[in-house]
Subunit: 355 residues, 5 copies
Amino acid sequence: MGKIKTKRHHKKVGKAPGSMIYTGHKSSKKLFIEAFDYNVERCIEKELNNVEEIFQINLSNSITWINLNGLNHVTEIEKLGKHFNLHPLVLEDIVSISQRPKIDEHEDYLFVVLKMLYNDKDDNIVSEQVSFILGTNYVLTFQESEGDVFDTVRERIRHGKGRVRTMKSDYLLYILMDAVVDHYFTIIETIGDKIEVFETDIFSGNVEKSINKDIQDLKREILRMRRAIFPLREVINRIEKHESELIQPKTKAFYRDIYDHLIQVSENLDIYREMIWSLMDMYMTSISNKMNEVMKVLTIMASIFIPLTFIAGIYGMNFDYIPELHYKHSYFILWGVMIVLFLGMLHYFKRKKWL
Amino acid sequence: MGKIKTKRHHKKVGKAPGSMIYTGHKSSKKLFIEAFDYNVERCIEKELNNVEEIFQINLSNSITWINLNGLNHVTEIEKLGKHFNLHPLVLEDIVSISQRPKIDEHEDYLFVVLKMLYNDKDDNIVSEQVSFILGTNYVLTFQESEGDVFDTVRERIRHGKGRVRTMKSDYLLYILMDAVVDHYFTIIETIGDKIEVFETDIFSGNVEKSINKDIQDLKREILRMRRAIFPLREVINRIEKHESELIQPKTKAFYRDIYDHLIQVSENLDIYREMIWSLMDMYMTSISNKMNEVMKVLTIMASIFIPLTFIAGIYGMNFDYIPELHYKHSYFILWGVMIVLFLGMLHYFKRKKWL
Amino acid sequence: MGKIKTKRHHKKVGKAPGSMIYTGHKSSKKLFIEAFDYNVERCIEKELNNVEEIFQINLSNSITWINLNGLNHVTEIEKLGKHFNLHPLVLEDIVSISQRPKIDEHEDYLFVVLKMLYNDKDDNIVSEQVSFILGTNYVLTFQESEGDVFDTVRERIRHGKGRVRTMKSDYLLYILMDAVVDHYFTIIETIGDKIEVFETDIFSGNVEKSINKDIQDLKREILRMRRAIFPLREVINRIEKHESELIQPKTKAFYRDIYDHLIQVSENLDIYREMIWSLMDMYMTSISNKMNEVMKVLTIMASIFIPLTFIAGIYGMNFDYIPELHYKHSYFILWGVMIVLFLGMLHYFKRKKWL
Amino acid sequence: MGKIKTKRHHKKVGKAPGSMIYTGHKSSKKLFIEAFDYNVERCIEKELNNVEEIFQINLSNSITWINLNGLNHVTEIEKLGKHFNLHPLVLEDIVSISQRPKIDEHEDYLFVVLKMLYNDKDDNIVSEQVSFILGTNYVLTFQESEGDVFDTVRERIRHGKGRVRTMKSDYLLYILMDAVVDHYFTIIETIGDKIEVFETDIFSGNVEKSINKDIQDLKREILRMRRAIFPLREVINRIEKHESELIQPKTKAFYRDIYDHLIQVSENLDIYREMIWSLMDMYMTSISNKMNEVMKVLTIMASIFIPLTFIAGIYGMNFDYIPELHYKHSYFILWGVMIVLFLGMLHYFKRKKWL
Amino acid sequence: MGKIKTKRHHKKVGKAPGSMIYTGHKSSKKLFIEAFDYNVERCIEKELNNVEEIFQINLSNSITWINLNGLNHVTEIEKLGKHFNLHPLVLEDIVSISQRPKIDEHEDYLFVVLKMLYNDKDDNIVSEQVSFILGTNYVLTFQESEGDVFDTVRERIRHGKGRVRTMKSDYLLYILMDAVVDHYFTIIETIGDKIEVFETDIFSGNVEKSINKDIQDLKREILRMRRAIFPLREVINRIEKHESELIQPKTKAFYRDIYDHLIQVSENLDIYREMIWSLMDMYMTSISNKMNEVMKVLTIMASIFIPLTFIAGIYGMNFDYIPELHYKHSYFILWGVMIVLFLGMLHYFKRKKWL
C-alpha cells in the first residue's frame, strides 16, 4: 500500500481497455458488504453475503448506502455495476487501484475516486483507494479491505446525529468524503512529528547514514500524499460546480468546506516539504561541522606534538660535539622550554576558539 | 500560537460537520464583549457582560461595532449567531482557529477571517485569528483573547477623528482590516532585523550549530506568515469586486489601498525568503572557509616540522660510521641547514598566501 | 534511438521546406506493409509487398488499418500520401523522425505523431516515432522498423475480442494509442527499478564515480521521456475536443481514459525526477560521510601515537644528566604511563562516538 | 535610499488612512519648484518659490510641466493637490515614498508612481520615487530631492528638439518616463561590470570572506531592482490600454517602445540573477579546490617524510645486536635507499597529477 | 556579437526617442544591397550601389526581395524607410541591434526582428540581428554585415526550386525565417557537443579551474540563446493569427511548421540547461571524490608509519635498564612485529576498500 502505485499497473499492459482486472495485492480477501437504508424516521443496517441481496433493497423513499469491501471479487462488482447501470470504464477504474483522485460525471450518477490515508499499527502511512458512486438516492462505496475511516459516519446514521438523516444522498457523500479528508489531518500530524524527531536528532549531532535515508523516505511519502490530495481539490471543485439534481445547491456550501480543508492540508504538506529541504540542509551542515571538529582535534594534536618531537629529536642526535648535552641543567631547561611552547600553543588555539 | 496550526485540528476529527468546537488553547479565558454604537452626532461605548445585552442595542440610525473576546465561550457565540442569523458553518469557522484567511459572501452579510500578527513581550511573532461579520449597519469581530491592534480604531471612533463617523459599516471594516495589515509591517521589520543580526554573526565567523537552527526557524516563520498573508490578497480582491449594498463604490478605493499594502508585505516576505537562502549559503561557505583555515594550520605545522624531524632522526642513528657526526662544527652547520629549510618553508607558504 | 533527437535534424538544414527526407539511421530496412480490413462479420489480414496493392483495397463497408514499416522508403510513402490526399508537410513530418508529439487537424483526416517507448534486449529505453492518419474508415500507421507494441491490437482484431470489430476507425486509433501509452508504464517501472538499485548502492556506501555518471544519465533519460509524454496530453486533449465526424462522441470517454493514464505517467515521471535529485543528495552526503570516516581514522591514529612518540623521543635524548634514565624501573613505569595515555585517548574518542 | 523600503513605513502604523505623512529621510530639504509652459511657438521656464505661483499659470493653449522637489513640504503639496483636485489617497501615496510602481486611473487625470534609479558618486545604486500626474494639458512630477534624470527632457523642451513641442501632455509624460527607463540600462551595466569584477576575482583564486558578502549584497540589489522594474511593465501596459482623451492613440506606439525596453531590462536582470548564482557556485568550487590544494601539500609532505623518519628511527634503536649498524657502508647505503624512496614517491605523486 | 547586448544601448541614453542611432560595432562596413525581383516566369538578380536604385524597381507583377547589409549607413536606411513609408520607431529599431525578437503589425506592412545565430570560424556562437519588412509584394531584410544563412534561399529563387516562385511575398518571408530557424539546430548541436566534451573531461577526473569557468560560460550562452529564441515563438504565433491580406491562409500552415521547430529548439535548450546543472553537480562531486582520494593516501601513510615510528622510538630510548635491548634476536623479532603490524594495517585498509 505505502508503495509506489505504478507497479500494479503492470498486470494490465496489453489487456483490452475496459476489461476489469483487480490490480492490488489483497486477492484473498473475503467479500464483505454492508448496507444502510435510512430516512428521517428509520434506519436499517444490514450485512450482506452477496450482491444479489442488494437488488432486493427498495431504493425509493429512503437513502441507501452500500459499502463493498474486497475489490478482488471482480465478478460480483460487475453484477453490481450492471444493476446500477454503470459504464464499463467506471467498473475498470473501481478495481484498478492505481487511479489518481478524479470525478467522472455521468448522466444519472457521479463517479468519484479518492485515496483514503490512515496510519497502520506501526504508524506507517497506508493509502487505500475508495470509489464512490452517487445516485439520486443511493451512495455506493468500494474499498479494498475492511478497515476504514467511516465509523463516525455509521454512528451518525445509526443514531440520527446531526443533519444526515434529514438530507439527501449528496449530503451522505459529503460526510463520507469529509471523514476521509479529516483523516488527512491526522496523517499530516504524523509527518509533522517525524520531522520534529529528525530535527532533534540532527541538532543533537546524530549524523548516521540511516537518518539521511529516512529523511529521503519521508520526502517521498510527502510526494505521494501530494499526489493523493492535490487532484482531490479539483474533484471537489467540480462537485461544487456540478449542475444536476444529484448535488443540491444547499449542500454545496458543505463541499466548499471540504475544499477549504484540502487547501489547508495542501499548504501544510508544502510547508513540510520545505522543512524537509531544510532538514537536509541542516544534515549537510551537521556533517561539515562534525568534520571541522575532527580536523581541529587532529590539527591541535599534531601542531603541539610535532614541534616538540622535533626538539627531542635534536638532542637525540649523536654528534660528537653538542655543547648543550653536557650542561648540568639543560635537560630541565629543555622541559621548561617545551612546557612554555605547549602552553603557548594551547593559548593560540584557545584564542582561535578551537578549544 | 506561533506553532503550526494543524495540531489544533485534531480535536475535531470524527466530529459531525457544522459542530462548533473551539480548537485553541485558551479555554479558560473570560468572555469580554465591547460595543461601539455611533453616527455623525454621537458615540456610545459599552462593556457588556453577556451576549443578551447585545440584542437590546438598536441597530438602526447608527453603526454598531461589537467586539467579542473569548472564542471558548461557544454557546454564547452560538446565541449571537442565531440573533444575527449566521450560517452554522460560519459559526464553526469562527471558533475553529486554524482557518486560513478567507471570505464567504452570504446574502445579507460578509464573513471574513484573517490572521492578526503582532510581537509579544519576548519579540516572538504571535498569530491570532480574527473573524469579521459585516452587516448593513454593524460589524462583529471575534477574537481569541483580549490584546489586539485595534486601539487606534477605538480612538478614532471615540473622538470622531478622520472620516470614520461619517461613513458606513464597510468603512469601519476597512479601518479594522487596515489596522491589522499595518501591523504586518511591524512584523516584517522584526524579521528584517533578525536577518541582519544573523548576517553580522555569520560574517564575523560565528558558525555555531545553534545559528543554523535559528535560521531554519526563521525560515519556517516566514513560511507561516506567507500562509497568513497571501490568501488575504484574494480576500481583499473579492471585497473590491463584491457587488451588493454592503460595500459602497466609494470605499472600494480604500480596499484597493489595503491590497497595495499587502502586495508590498508579500514582496518583502519573498525578498526575506531569498535572503535566508543567501544566509544559509553564507553559513555553508563560512564553515568551509573555517575548515580551510584549520587545514592550513595543520599543513604548515606538519610540512615544516616533519622534514626537520627526519633530519634529526638521521643523526640519531647508531651506525658505527657516520662521518658527519665527528666533524667539529657539524652540529651548528645542521642547525643552519634546518633554519634555512624553516625559512624557505615559511617563504613558500607566504607566497601561497597561507600565512 | 536512445540518443538526443536533434542530431538527426542536421541532414535537413538548408533543404526546401516540404521536402521529404528520412532523418533516421535505419536506411537499409526493408519495406514491410501489413493491412487489416474488418467489420463485424469478417477480418482480412494481408502482408503487402508494395504500396500499389493498398490502392486495391475497397475502403467502404469496413475499417482498414494499414501499418507501414520502413520510413526510409520515402517514394513509396509519397505515393501512399498522394493516394490518401495527404498534405506535403504531413508527409515530411512522417519521415522526419525528430518530431515532438503533435496533432494536425486536416479537413478529412487527423494526423497524430507520438513516441513509442519500449525496452530493448539490454533493457535500454528505445524511442521510436509512430505517425497515425485517421480517416473516416481507415487508420494508417507509419513506423521506422518492425518491432512494435501493437501485437495485442492485432490479436483483438483477428479474434474480434472486445468491442473493436463493432466500432469505427476512431476506436481503432484509440486502442492503438492505448497500446502505446500502456507501454509507458512498463518503462516507468524500469526507471523505478533502476532508481531502487542506485539507492541500495549508495546507501551501502558505494560512491564510485561511475554511479554519479549513471544517475546523471538516468536523469537525462527522464528528461527525454517527459519530452515524449508531456505534449501527448495536449494531443489527446485536442482529440477529445475535436468536432467532426472522425471522432464519435461515444469514443471520447475512451480518449479521456488515455488522458488519465498519461497524467499518471507524467506524475510518476516527476516523482522519479525528484527522487533522482534526492539520490544526488544522498550521494553527496555519502561522499562527505566517507570523508568524515577517513578523517576520523587519521585523527585517531595521529592523536594517539604522536604524543607517545614524543615521550619516547624525550628519553632518546643524549643529555649527560637525565635522572629518570638511571632509575631501575623507569622503563616499565614509562610503559605504564604510555598505556594509560593510550587508554585515555581511546576512551576520549569513544565518548566522542568516533569509534 | 539604497535600503529596504519597508523600514520607512513604520512611521505610519496606527495613523488614520489618507493622512499625508512624508516617510523619507530628507526632511530638511528646501522646496524647489520649476515650471515649463510651452507650445509649438514658445517656451517659458520659471523657478517658483511657492505653490501659489503655480495657480497663476494659465493652463489653456499650452502644455505645462510642473516639477516639485521636496516631498517633506507636505502642506504645500496638499495645496497643490486641492488646486488640481487630486484624491486624498493620491496625495498620501505621493509623499509616502515606499510605494511600488503603480498607476491609478482617475476621471480627469492619471496618477503614476515609479522608481528612478541612478548611480551616486560612489557608484552605489540610488532609488528615488517619482510620482506623475497627467492631466489634459499638464504634467506634475514630484520628487524627493533635486538630482534627477530629466536634464535631456528639459533640453528638448527648451530648444524644441524632436517632436515634444508639437505634441500633447501624454507625449511629455512619455519622454519623462522614457528618460527614467533609459537610465535603468546604465544601472544594468553597472551591475554587469560588478559581476565581471567578481568573476575575475574568484577565478584568480580570491576566496576572501568579504567577496561572499559582496556577492550576496549584489544579489539583494538585483532583487530590489526587480521590485522597482517588474511592476512598471504592468503600469505601461495599462497606459497603452487606457481609453480616454488623456492618452492619444498615436502616442501609444511610443509607450509600446518603453514596454519593449522594460522587457529588455527585466530579461537582463534575470540573466544577471542567474549569473550571481553561478558566481556563488564558482566561489564554493573555488574554496573546495583551494582545500584540495592544501590537502595535497600536506599529504605529499607527510607521505614522503613519515616513512623516511621511520627508517631513521629504526637505526636509532639501541639494541645490542643490529648487524647493519656495523657494516662500513651501511650509512651511505641507507641514504641511497632513502633517496630512491623519495624519488619513487615524487614519481607516484606526479603520476597522480598532484604535483 | 557573442557579448551581452545591453552594453550597446549605452550610446543612446539621453537621446530623443525615435532618433536613429546604430548601436553595433561594425561602423566601417561598406553598404551592400542586393535585390531579387521574380515571378513564375522570370528572376532578376541585381547588386545595387545605393538605395536610390531600389526606387526604380517596378514593384507590381512580381515579388521583390531587397537585402541590405550595413546598418551603420543610417541615412541610406532612412531614405529607404521614407520610400516604403516606414514608421520612425521601426527605423530606429532596425539600426538598434539590441532588440529582442518582436513583431510590429502596421497598416500596410509587418515588421519582424529576430536574431540570426551561426558559428564563426572558431566555433563561437555569433548572434546577428536581422529585421524583415513584409509588404504586399516585397520583403526587405536588414543585416549588420554580409555573411548570412540565406544562401539556400537565393539558390531556390534563382533556379525556381520548390514553390517559392509561384507564391507571394508571405512565402518568401517564411523561407527566409525558416532558414534562420534551421540554423538554430546547428547551434544546438554545437552546444550538445560542448557538453559532451565537458562530461568526458569531468568524468575522466579533470577538475581544473578553467573547466568550471567554461561551464559557466556555456550556461550563459544558453541563457542568451533562450533570449533570442523564446520570444520568437510569440512572433510566429502572431504571424499565424495575423488577419490581413499580407499573410495568406494557405501559408499559415508553413508558419505553424516553423513554430513546431522553435518548440523543438526551445525544448532542447532547456534540456541542455538541465544538463549543465548536472555537469556542475558532477564537477562538485568530482572535486569531493578527489579530496577523498587525497585524504585516503594521507591517512594510509600516516596510520601505517606513525605507530611503527613510535615503536622504533621506544627502543631508541636511553634508559639504563631496558631488558629487550639485550636479547640477541630482539632486533629481528621487532622487525617481525613491525611487518605483521604493517600487513595488518594493509589488510584493514583493503577491507575498508581504501586501497
